[in-house]
């Protein structure tokens, strides 16, 4: 897989670290343990388009927000995680 990094251009996946589904923020203490179980353990694990976080460790060292089809490995969009809407 080649990931089109917004800063570095198309780069080999071996330069990147996969973080997993780009999930909403960590729950607050008041949200209770169910919310934490959900956050830590439960996954949507979609077969199809998935929004996820990748880190360009051996490049610009930026966290990226990636939309990728898990059935084909096609990258649908790559933007900066810092611009992710919360």
């Amino acid at each position: 897989m080649i990931i089109p990094c917004p800063y570095c251009g198309p780069r080999d996946t071996s330069e990147f670290f996969f973080r997993g589904e780009a999930r909403p923020q960590r729950p607050q203490y008041e949200d209770g343990s169910d919310a934490f179980v959900d956050h830590v353990y439960e996954r949507v694990n979609n077969a199809g388009a998935q929004v996820e976080h990748w880190y360009h460790a051996a490049g610009c060292r930026t966290w990226l927000l990636v939309k990728r089809d898990t059935r084909t490995h096609a990258f649908l969009s790559v933007t900066l995680a810092s611009e992710q809407k919360r």
């Binding site: 071996s14 996954r43 979609n46």
Partner: protein, 420 residues
């Protein structure tokens, strides 16, 4: 269909008749309207479940529903290692039960699954690793499982071709389980299919489950498929890498990520690797098939995938580890590589449990170690489906253990989808 037992006598008779009398080993059934139990997934686990439902509980109105062909998933893609060298008390008895079933499987199924107890040798490369292997070996022995700790001279006797004095990863010794080994993966699928079919189980191929039928109380009462609606009192999921997908049809979210794992086979060579050997300084393992090919693999690719194929960085990584362990393999050519979709749980251990949806049961989260589990997984899932309570050796494999804190963290590394 009339049962045709396999034996030396039958083989001799067929040989004289020009082998024209062999019948299909199992029935390719069309879906009926209703069953007692539907098992989704015609991999090793689904077929073993159906077989043990019939054999152990006399429940024969059973259908195994497979979207493609049986054994086309991980059952036919794995590297065929069977073993029970586990540390934790939730795991050891279960995997030992499985190994014991493997030991009698061929007689029970009347099918040659080529079970070969050629041993597994886990190598250690530091004092600390040797200590942890000693602990694991002791834990195994406490459960009545065979384990031997070898020093480097003992390893050298078995496998003189290893790079013992490697500057970075010298070989300190290894933990040997002699009763471990390999089995022929396709043979296991066909053997369970034949034995289940003989007892009346319907094996329905090219039939994809696309949803669940539920009554007003939410109870699952059947499945929607590409070949129409099929009703059942109970529905069990045994769909490995597709667990999250199928569970989502019932609105469930699971502690599972799907990842791709690759494997490789070399050209055929004369016998050189005595059993299964694993590299302790990375993640690499190798054995030699009866055909002569070196069968080997390593880590997951490391990203979520349903694609059944991987990428080149892992190819490079696995080959580098092979070279670090046994430089002689550099002269063999890789013949093929392929990938399978692993149902990676967040603690690296499987799930055999009821789900919060009544009538729906889950067998999944096998990570990359589910082949060796095939007989016991079927045995325990059949028990759960028939009795509505977990089998004594599978009580730890609960779905709610992530919420209750009773995770089974065999690797001791916390919540990650790359364990096992």
């Amino acid at each position: 269909m009339e049962r045709q037992p396999y034996s030396l006598f039958a083989l001799a008779c067929q040989a004289f008749a020009g082998h024209r009398g062999w019948k299909p080993a199992w029935r390719d059934a069309a879906p009926k309207e209703r069953y007692d139990v539907i098992v989704i997934g015609g991999g090793g686990h689904g077929l073993a479940t159906a077989y043990y439902l019939a054999r152990n509980f006399g429940i024969t109105k059973v259908a195994v529903i497979e979207k493609g062909w049986i054994g086309g998933g991980n059952a036919g893609r794995n590297t065929t290692i069977i073993r029970s060298n586990y540390l934790l008390p939730e795991n050891t008895p279960f995997y030992e039960h499985s190994l014991k079933l493997w030991e009698g499987l061929e007689q029970d199924l009347n099918f040659n699954a080529m079970v070969s107890q050629r041993g597994i040798l886990n190598l250690c490369h530091s004092d600390e690793q040797r200590d942890s292997f000693e602990r694991r070996g002791n834990a195994m022995r406490l459960h009545g499982v065979d384990a031997d700790l070898l020093d480097s001279a003992g390893v050298r006797k078995m496998a003189p071709f290893l790079d013992f004095d490697n500057a970075r990863f010298p070989i300190f010794g290894g933990l040997l389980q002699k009763r471990a080994g390999t089995a022929r993966h396709d043979g296991v699928v066909w053997g369970f299919a034949r034995a289940a079919s003989d007892r009346g189980v319907d094996i329905i191929q090219n039939c994809e489950v696309t949803g669940f039928v539920r009554d007003t109380g939410g109870q699952v009462t059947g499945v929607e498929t590409s070949r129409g609606t099929i009703l059942a009192d109970k529905v069990g999921m045994a769909v490995a890498g597709n667990s999250s997908r199928v569970a989502s049809f019932a609105g469930l979210r699971l502690p599972i990520e799907s990842h791709v794992l690759q494997a490789f086979v070399s050209e055929g060579l004369k016998p050189v690797i005595p059993g299964v050997i694993t590299f302790g300084a990375g993640h690499f393992y190798i054995s030699q098939s009866d055909k002569g090919g070196l069968v080997f693999g390593g880590d997951l690719d490391g990203y979520n995938s349903y694609a059944q194929r991987g990428n080149l960085p892992i190819v490079e990584d696995v080959c580098e580890e092979a070279m670090a362990l046994m430089p002689m393999v550099g002269r063999a050519r890789v013949l093929r590589s392929w990938g399978g979709i692993m149902d990676m749980t967040l603690d690296g251990s499987p799930i055999i449990d009821r789900t919060p949806v009544p009538g729906l049961y889950l067998n999944g989260g096998w990570c990359y170690g589910g082949f060796k589990a095939t007989p016991a997984s079927g045995w325990c899932f059949a028990h759960l489906l028939a009795r509505d309570e977990p089998h004594p050796v599978a009580t730890g494999y609960r779905l709610d253990r992530f919420a209750s804190g009773r995770v089974i963290d065999e690797k001791g590394a916390g919540a990650q989808a790359n364990l096992q």
